[in-house]
Symmetry: D2
Subunit: 274 residues, 4 copies
Amino acid sequence: LNALKNSKVRKLDPDHITAVRCDGISIGEGTFTVVAGPCAVESEEQTLTAAKAVEKAGARIFRASLFKPRTSPHSFQGIGAEGIPILAAIKEETNLIVETEVLSPLHLPLLIDHVDMLRIGSRSMRSYELLKEVGKTRMPVILKRGMSATLEEFLLAAEYILAGGNEQVVLCERGIRTFETYTRNTLDILAVPALKELTHLPVIVDPSHASGRSSLVIPASKAALAAGADGLLVEVHPHPEEALSDGYQALDIPTFEGMMGELKALVPAFGKEM
Amino acid sequence: LNALKNSKVRKLDPDHITAVRCDGISIGEGTFTVVAGPCAVESEEQTLTAAKAVEKAGARIFRASLFKPRTSPHSFQGIGAEGIPILAAIKEETNLIVETEVLSPLHLPLLIDHVDMLRIGSRSMRSYELLKEVGKTRMPVILKRGMSATLEEFLLAAEYILAGGNEQVVLCERGIRTFETYTRNTLDILAVPALKELTHLPVIVDPSHASGRSSLVIPASKAALAAGADGLLVEVHPHPEEALSDGYQALDIPTFEGMMGELKALVPAFGKEM
Amino acid sequence: LNALKNSKVRKLDPDHITAVRCDGISIGEGTFTVVAGPCAVESEEQTLTAAKAVEKAGARIFRASLFKPRTSPHSFQGIGAEGIPILAAIKEETNLIVETEVLSPLHLPLLIDHVDMLRIGSRSMRSYELLKEVGKTRMPVILKRGMSATLEEFLLAAEYILAGGNEQVVLCERGIRTFETYTRNTLDILAVPALKELTHLPVIVDPSHASGRSSLVIPASKAALAAGADGLLVEVHPHPEEALSDGYQALDIPTFEGMMGELKALVPAFGKEM
Amino acid sequence: LNALKNSKVRKLDPDHITAVRCDGISIGEGTFTVVAGPCAVESEEQTLTAAKAVEKAGARIFRASLFKPRTSPHSFQGIGAEGIPILAAIKEETNLIVETEVLSPLHLPLLIDHVDMLRIGSRSMRSYELLKEVGKTRMPVILKRGMSATLEEFLLAAEYILAGGNEQVVLCERGIRTFETYTRNTLDILAVPALKELTHLPVIVDPSHASGRSSLVIPASKAALAAGADGLLVEVHPHPEEALSDGYQALDIPTFEGMMGELKALVPAFGKEM
């Protein structure tokens, strides 16, 4: 991986670790951090219900998108800037850190003062002008791997953000596109230890997009822990069957609670805390 | 392909064809249109030399990028807005239509008055907010297939532009990412007749990115013609070995002239004009 | 492609060409050779009807499988050795060269005296013990590319046959497996000129398996010719809708006749004879 | 997965489990079974050293190939039938179950009386005539997934063996071919729980071929356990740097011992025994 030489993402020695810190939590330093929430903000009620439930179950960061990049322009595109007060309500009524997706440089100014953490989705991993803009901020950001990005390309996308001076980057493996159709994507579980060899940045896994099936989210999450991931990014919805997007891969609240219970019991065996 | 039902990109009957018109030329209506030029504007001299040569050889549209999306932030990122006067010089000194890549909504206002046609690159096919902005203009646009996009996803990306009211879209097959590494990408040649079955929009082929090897550009171009493409998007550089990007896949001027001679002789056998 | 050094398949200079000869025809030496016939021998009537029709339309070699490698054991597995008299009837009643698939070393002795040419299917490209057995014969053989084989692996599979002393190998590109599902496989059209750069062996294309759709077979065949292929391997069935296997990708006889007419008109423009 | 209807591999209800039994061990019934050994039998000393070491570390089954399917005919093809006495020595000097690869129907009679368990490699998953022959035996067999096989195709390959009356089949996920090149293949970890949903057969994982890098074998193995696998197939060599094949992915003996220690500590947390 020659292109990584002299890069800022490169791991310099086995102990070289960057922890991404946000509002009292630290990702990548011996913790297993769960980011959870619905695919999209749909209504205040749906969002608050999800937030309170994931907080109660032990998640520390709440995910919810206002702007949704959808394959078809005729699908639900997200509630947009109208949802900002809903995110504000989450911050008031819970102790969760609030994270949301930014998918255009035009949206960045709208979001930056209202959320704690940004997410760059798989479709935007190669939107280098967006990465440059995010690199100018000092906000923690979850960068998801492009669905056809090699590890080298993924790390060089992160390099765009670090090169701008923002080192608060969490890498997220979320499955790659292959010929297999039983799962929505193919979870490249070995990306986790491979990235740990190559970079000092924290690495989390999105079991929801990787599998595209709620029945596979729990084994995917356990495999992520076992492979050395620093956390998860999970879709949870109070009523998956009514979700406006991605409902088939969201966990309902009791299933998420069950998974969190299982994970809490397993985490110490892998030398981490939760 | 259920998601195409009720879409604007869908072909309604076998004779349903949209020609994309620009400054006296028409793409998709029985012509074989060659878009040619260097990967990037590097200097006025390099750009003008390339432009005059491709015009002389029979190309009608000149391609040259000011902004380059590169895998690494440490690679040449394009000359940027400083190159706009160079594109103006092309328009003065030749009869070529000038086309360039737009890769961020932030750049669109800079480019829109200075070029005749926009290009949306493979990395940006899923930048739906950019597609929406381009859909608000009435500029002809070449939309390149994402390197891991299915034909359905490709057509739905075009739908974002059409849904905004801009029907001037030329689809460009440029190779998809597979396990094969001899070529940079795998030219999905059957995407051409498949798209012709599914949509009324014109379809061209980029043999340069598809192959990533100048030695394969000529057979790729002939195959595109034979498969029913409406034209080509080809990289040509006066000195490929000195190019700041993608030199290994660019044709030098004599090779491009030779290819154009061969294509002119073949085009009538496929019922087209050039 | 280091592994090709010192191989027998490697092209030593631009003029290094091996023609595969069989019963008066020569593949790879300026001709465009069409191998055509049904996926499988189903009955004497179906097979003879197909054979006479493809001969009349200009095909020189007849393809028809007795043994079929099917994804499910519960699908039609081919008529087996019972069909040998049917192949004998073809040889009596036509001037066609008869080709069939060998998919196990156990079948080779049954087939070797009854056909003129062997085919090794995509699923068997990595059956190296079979390749070694075929290498011990002196029969012409069509070796199809494995659906996930790189060009290097494909050439090294051919090397197994050449290493045994049998140089009568025709390579056949038949599409590779990718994420795209509109076509059955992705025709890697640039494999044709790439193989022509790397090896002295003839290269043909199977447009039927590559596309998996009869509507795409004609453009695929023209693209193969334009890319430099030495011929085609095409599925033709008197009644595709009644075929016991692969009917959706077979041409009916009138469509095949039409295609052959078009190809005959195009072949001279590409410097070949038919 | 329509093709699985009425198949023998299909899981009929959540409790439907088939345990594969061999010489006192049982795979798939609450145990985590480790199959370990060198890629190939190279010499009596190398093989015995490896066997004794893996037995001491806790492996129950010994893997070692006599016949090797290699990409190039000029690479080491295995010691062949000459190695049978070496396998006999393993059975005398240890309590290990001995497993080896069968890659041609021609080899089956040579092997069947000398080993306890057969392996069908990734390249042979589509060699249906071989699967039929193995289906006629009553030997336990490890069937590895083809490198480009969907889960449905993989299960239907197993169906060939079950349809012959042999239900002693262990499925092995060993990585699929994708665009990523950092790892030799992409370990499709979610194949494990997906197969567990679809079939009653046991499922193990080959972390060595999946990763192609000894540094990733331990995290891959832990992920396999966490995802619900019934065991592992691991390459171990006394001197990986001198191995005649696949040395870069083999564990040396101390590393294997370390991994076994870690796994023994983790297995109970996943409700299994070792």
